[in-house]
Symmetry: C2
Subunit: 146 residues, 2 copies
Amino acid sequence: MQKEKSIDHALRATWQAVAKIYNEQAAKHDSTMAVAMALLYIDAEKGTASTALGPSMGMEATSLSRILKSMEERGLIYREKNPEDGRGVFIKLTAFGIEKREVSKESVYKFNQKIRDKLDPVKIDHFFEVTDLINELICEKSIFKD
Amino acid sequence: MQKEKSIDHALRATWQAVAKIYNEQAAKHDSTMAVAMALLYIDAEKGTASTALGPSMGMEATSLSRILKSMEERGLIYREKNPEDGRGVFIKLTAFGIEKREVSKESVYKFNQKIRDKLDPVKIDHFFEVTDLINELICEKSIFKD
């Protein structure tokens, strides 16, 4: 009997492999995957509240603030007071940031397209059904409840 | 037209969610996911060469040596000279380590079983087809080759 493959191992190993090539790709543009990701998560037109960015990127506040600082120094973003909340800060992309955001977008598009080109769309749908179910079971805390 | 879902985003978000509950589960046993994972990657009978452990876990040497140090302090592992290589070191599990390895194994089994219980096996197979293909394309460097 073949040993059953482990879903968590596939997720971890595959994400690590993807992160590696995303970082290599970002390095070609003197950047990092984290910066490229932040560019994608910031709304190109309206900007994004700094407090919303960490949670949506799944990143802790301290790591995020280090990344935003380096992005500001590189002229990719600027900060603006949140018009709806005097204490809050909005992160906005500069023209250079918007340009670099397009580069990130293209890499993400290329990655996804290369995979989709090689596989029956039904299989991709099933892949998302599996990841959606995992997230759902985790959200409802039903995996390790005992 | 619905925006196409991003495969990389699903991988990252899902792995992060899994890592979070694995860490919570490990915390119930005063441990961490990294320690639980190392326990699983060390051969319970023969032990594992310390130099082989990092690559198989997808972990850098410095992080791994920190984890192994804490595992040694907790009495989960011990080090032995590699019989086939005088300069090399073998990591072996203590009886306590083997006991804790079983706990990790059960959590991984439970996680995988909960997912498999809820999904058609064909969908799980397709999930692995997608992750296998991604790893294959990354290995052959064909995604960002241009």
